[in-house]
């Protein structure tokens, strides 16, 4: 009891019907396919564990090299390597019911029917508290189709909405000119929240070898270099819809998390930054408690509190 539980209270947030201990989430594909990396964290510090995308069929992923680095972040083309739904249902899901943190499963697919299949499957799994639709992977053939056409996106979200009562999040692509039509389409189709956003399509080359640094050529950029780009999309989405926003893109510190929340996010996913420091989310949770105490503010009053300059 005492002081500590009060501080834990001050970090709690909600995403629709889901109450989270803290606004700190893992990013899909950056903290594993299962719960094993949780051992680096104090479970009280994590709001939810968002797991790697699962597709109906196994996917071997892309050729090597799959990752490269630059000053502002990394480029990856993992290509959604995963062992498919059957493996996940048999081997991963049963363990998820035992863990202390809510799990958000992430669904991928090539067609509307595949997303629906995944949503039905995740709905039936006891250990899965919410479903994030990955409508935005830049690293698979056709992976961005639903991300770049708001009508196609709305059809997928609507079709998944009718087959689940679990919280349904739509993870949007940043590889668009304006995110607003996509955010609104997902909201109207019944999404409970939006994850904004994913990796930005990019390229790194090696001039000496005259070759791209990744085996597949293009990849997705993540890490602190994309933070201002993600902040813009989070702010614009939050202005355009009523449903909560989960930010994803370049957050690496408590300050970054609060910046995203002020811009309108109700929770923040942390991906790339935790590769170097797998206990980062616990560190950030501690720092968040200290910053909020110092500022005398609460998570709830900060969300969406950005004061835009009047021209």
């Amino acid at each position: 009891m005492g002081a500590q539980s009060i501080f834990v209270m001050t970090l709690s947030t909600t995403i629709g019907s889901l109450s989270l201990h803290t606004p700190l989430l893992t990013g899909s594909g950056t903290f594993g396919h299962d719960a094993s990396a949780l051992s680096f964290l104090n479970p009280d510090d994590l709001g939810a564990l968002v797991l790697k995308t699962v597709t109906p069929q196994p996917r071997p992923g892309n050729p090597n090299p799959r990752m490269a680095e630059y000053e502002g972040g990394i480029l990856n083309s993992i290509g959604l390597e995963n062992r498919g739904l059957h493996y996940w249902r048999d081997k991963v899901a049963p363990e998820l019911a035992q863990i202390a943190v809510p799990v958000i499963a992430n669904a991928g697919g090539h067609t509307l029917e595949e997303y629906v299949e995944m949503t039905i499957a995740f709905s039936e799994m006891e250990g899965v508290e919410g479903i994030e639709l990955n409508l935005s992977c830049p690293n698979v053939e056709g992976g961005t189709r639903f991300a770049t056409d708001p009508i196609a996106l709305a059809q997928v979200v609507a079709a998944c909405r009718v087959v689940t009562e679990k919280p349904l999040w739509a993870k949007l692509s940043p590889n668009v000119e304006s995110i607003v039509p996509f955010a609104q389409a997902a909201e109207q189709a019944g999404a409970d929240a939006l994850t904004v956003s994913n990796t930005f399509l990019g390229l790194l080359v090696d001039w000496r070898t005259r070759q791209p640094q990744l085996g597949r050529g293009f990849g997705g950029v993540s890490g602190s270099g994309i933070r201002p780009l993600a902040l813009r999309f989070v702010y614009e989405s939050a202005q355009a819809v009523e449903i909560p926003i989960v930010a994803s893109g370049g957050a690496a510190s408590a300050k970054d998390v609060l910046d995203f929340m002020v811009a309108g996010a109700s929770a923040v996913q942390i991906g790339t930054a935790a590769f170097r420091t797998p206990d980062l989310l616990s560190k950030i949770a501690q720092d968040l408690r200290a910053l909020l105490k110092e500022d005398g503010s609460t998570i709830q009053t900060l969300i969406g509190s950005l004061e835009w300059p009047s021209l």
Binding site: G29, T30, F31, G32, S36, A37, S39, F40, K52, P58, P60, G61, N64, P65, R66, M67, A68, E69, Y70, E71, G72, G73, I74, N76, I78, E81, R83, G223, S224, T272, A274, F275, R276, T277, P278, D279
Partner: protein
């Protein structure tokens, strides 16, 4: 097994080693606990400076219950910032990671083959063998371009086991590469038929090693290097192609950071 954890350790010593490498000694705030030879750590600067990702290094030596050493060849920015890190500054460490070597029983001979900094995982292997009283059944072949790149060779030469050194330019020991040295030893019947073979080094060395031991039908393990994003199984950036008929099963990829970096040769495709 000792569960992987994050910690910070102080730079306790930096000793130059050859023209392009150094020994980094780190002091931890508590006893390190069990580590297996062949397991590795991810290192980065604790102050957040340096490249975005941490870098993988094999456990090299243990100088005290709370002190470890790493043999680091300086190649690019990640290794350079470690070399430049002043004494007493802190390094971010994730350890222990991966699957190390499965040492054979003390009464079974072991032949270890290293090229360049590929020697790193073998000091702990060799020390354990000597402690088990198996030094006489332990053979080590250490090769490099020239004598000054036989990093820290004295550490190996002073152990009570059979060490052989090979240099491409003939400046020390056997004249030729480690594979030629291995073939030579096999012809002379220096290495017992029933030995287990370990290798670590550059890819061409490992490929030549694999061809040789597979042709002879020897039991072998190799320590592999791939690009690593996280080192703890979270990112899928470290695939090694598996042998579909091997013990790792039909999935085309193993995670080098978890299933490896040490693999039995029959479980992967080199």
């Amino acid at each position: 097994m000792n569960e992987a954890r994050c910690t910070q350790a102080k730079v306790f010593g930096k000793t130059p080693c050859g023209p392009d490498a150094f020994l980094l000694e780190l002091e931890f705030s508590a006893e390190i606990g069990q580590i297996d030879p062949g397991q590795f750590v991810m290192l980065s600067l604790a102050d957040g400076q340096g490249p975005v990702l941490a870098r993988p290094f094999s456990f090299y030596g243990q100088t005290a219950p709370d002190r470890l050493t790493f043999l680091i060849q300086v190649l690019g920015i990640g290794t350079q910032v470690l070399q430049d890190c002043p004494l007493e500054e802190f390094i971010q460490v994730t350890l222990p990671l991966g699957t190390g070597f499965a040492l054979p029983d003390a009464n079974r001979p072991l032949v270890m083959i290293a090229g360049g900094v590929g020697s790193a995982p073998f000091l702990l292997c060799a020390e354990q063998r000597v402690q088990q009283g198996a030094g006489d059944q332990t053979f080590f072949i250490f090769g490099a371009r020239s004598e000054n790149r036989l990093y820290d060779k004295q550490a190996f030469a002073s152990l009570a086991m059979h060490s052989r050194f090979a240099t491409d330019d003939g400046s020390f020991g056997f004249s030729g590469n480690v594979i030629a040295c291995l073939e030579n030893g096999l012809q002379e019947e220096t290495f017992p038929e029933n030995a287990v073979y370990f290798a670590c080094g550059p890819e061409p060395l490992l490929k030549a090693f694999a061809r040789l031991v597979q042709a002879k039908g020897f039991e072998a393990q190799v320590s592999l290097e791939t690009y690593m994003g996280c080192g703890f199984g979270a990112c899928n950036a470290c695939p090694t192609a598996t042998n579909p008929n091997g013990p790792l099963g039909a999935w085309p990829w193993a995670k080098t950071c978890q299933d490896g970096p040490v693999f039995s040769l029959d479980s992967i495709q080199l």
